[in-house]
């Protein structure tokens, strides 16, 4: 291969990749810049690449949204996402382990199919009958109801299932031969091996649950239990919307997951690819 065509192709390839990347990142930049600019300034010049001034005054304006303090939404987001992630990782790890170790036990196949059907069901339409179930259980309007519903998810289950299936049978049989109890096998042999996959599942679950909005909206009785995306949606739906405030809230909603993703990008991307390939 001669050098000239390769370098031409290379210029073209870099040009294309750069244009696509800039187009994908531009909405973030526009959101960030608009959060610092007054609504009037954006209307006169929507394309300005830097704000006129780095004015954080908008934070005072959105300190209360829909009668609830902004920090309540932030706290709700961290509490609901954190709790549902911890619960989901624990419950899914134990469940997937049992289903992989003893797939033939009575009821286990049925349970697996029940789970698969659940994740195929249109999500937004599942939330509606779950509302009825929550009502019957007295969980409506409670944090517990929201956290319990958000705990399970397909990628989490498939990642654990895939990992447990890949553990060599000999490793577990050695424990059985030594007379270890099943609990000891799980906690002393399997779980220490599963630390990396557990970290991956925790990260991915956190990112996915942070974005959840519809169940939170439907199962809440008042805005007091809204998370950031739900508060953002409510604010965006208001008549005479405060554009600058909406952009500032969008930044606050996006920033935590963007940071977590950029810090742990390798693990997140590998985890999401592996979880999907199994499904």
């Amino acid at each position: 291969m001669s050098a000239a065509p390769r370098s031409w192709a290379q210029v073209l390839a870099y040009g294309a990749a750069l244009v696509i990347s800039v187009l994908f990142l531009y909405p973030y930049w526009w959101m960030l810049v608009s959060a610092f600019r007054t609504t009037r300034a954006v209307m006169t010049d929507p394309l300005r690449l830097l704000p006129e001034a780095f004015d954080l005054g908008i934070l005072g304006e959105i300190a209360r949204i829909g009668g609830v303090q902004l920090w309540v939404y932030v706290a709700n987001s961290f509490a609901i996402t954190g709790a549902s992630t911890l619960l989901g990782v624990t419950v899914t790890a134990l469940g997937a382990y049992a289903l992989v170790r003893k797939p033939d036990l009575p009821g286990f196949t049925l349970l697996r199919y029940g789970f698969l059907v659940t994740i195929m069901y249109p999500y937004m339409l599942l939330v509606i009958p779950v509302y009825v179930v929550m009502f019957k259980l007295g969980l409506l309007g409670s944090y517990a109801g929201i956290v319990l519903f958000l705990a399970l998810g397909p990628i989490q289950f498939f990642l654990f299932e895939q990992f447990f299936r890949a553990i060599p049978k000999e490793v577990i049989e050695a424990g059985v031969m030594d007379g270890a109890s099943e609990a000891a096998i799980l906690f002393r042999i399997v779980l220490p091996m599963a630390m990396p996959v557990t970290a991956t599942v925790t990260l991915v679950t956190f990112l996915l649950n942070w974005s959840q909005w519809f169940p939170v909206l439907v199962f809440s009785k008042t805005p007091e239990s809204y998370t950031l995306p739900v508060a953002l949606l409510a604010m965006n739906t208001e008549l005479g919307a405060n554009f600058q405030g909406i952009m500032a809230l969008a930044v606050i909603t996006t920033l935590p997951v963007a940071i977590v993703f950029l810090v742990a990008q390798k693990r997140v991307m590998q985890g999401m690819a592996a979880g999907a390939v199994k499904g």
Partner: protein, 296 residues
Amino acid sequence: MTGAFAQIWPNRVFYLFVLPFAALTILFGVWPILLSIQISFTASASALRAAPSYVGLANYAAVFADPLFIASLSRTLVYTVLAVVANLAFALAVATLLDSTLLERANLFFRLAIFLPVVTPDVAGYVVWRWLFDRSFGAVNAALSALDLPGFGGLSSINTVTASILIAELWHHAGFYMLIFLANLAIRDRALEEAAAIDGATSWQRWRWVVLPQLRPALVINIVYATIQFLKTFTVVVVMTKGGPNDHTNFVSYYAYQLFDQGRYGEATAMATILFALVIGLSLTAYRIGDKAAWR
């Protein structure tokens, strides 16, 4: 009975492990789905009472006799096909580009830029896109007029609304499909391409006849995932269009939700069941077609 018990009792520790998972799956999965199917056979007014009155298939008949539902269903199917093709074509092209040896430097930056929207909360992303398409605030029309190009109707015109939400959804989802293609490209057998190159195959021929057939697993997974994803399109409609203008983006899931909101539980759950059947049917079909198409 004793046989099952003899199998269960020695394994009781596994039932203990699986119990919380089973409880959540049943409480928030199996039970509500069965409940939803049950409600679809009852009269809306009595649906949530202790003793609902059953009306057989009347809700399903009403739903299929509703011209708005038929229009909504056909729009949903057309949109699904458009979105699946657009997302997968774009993702495959970008994955091929990023996988090529031409782009060794800054490769991670490109991947991160295209994948970041996947983990960005969808509400936040679609809110920003809604305003980007706005006539008076939006950067899209400002950029077009700066380039002396004709304006873009965005979300307010029936001619451009589908393209607008397609762009926003592609921005949010395509990075995921790209990731699956990239994972598949990374494990392909490169020796085959070298052999083809020695035999005088052009780059296009190598990609079409050597690389593409090896991407069959990623293609099948992506087709199934994307079909399920776009049949259920909901959030983008809630945030950006509310089904409008003129019902042009009133897809089945949003339409069913509106009926539920109006207390028409019987019809809403009948639609849910129909959509569920479609999701299962079409994703199995997509799986089969994807499986065969990539063989050639």
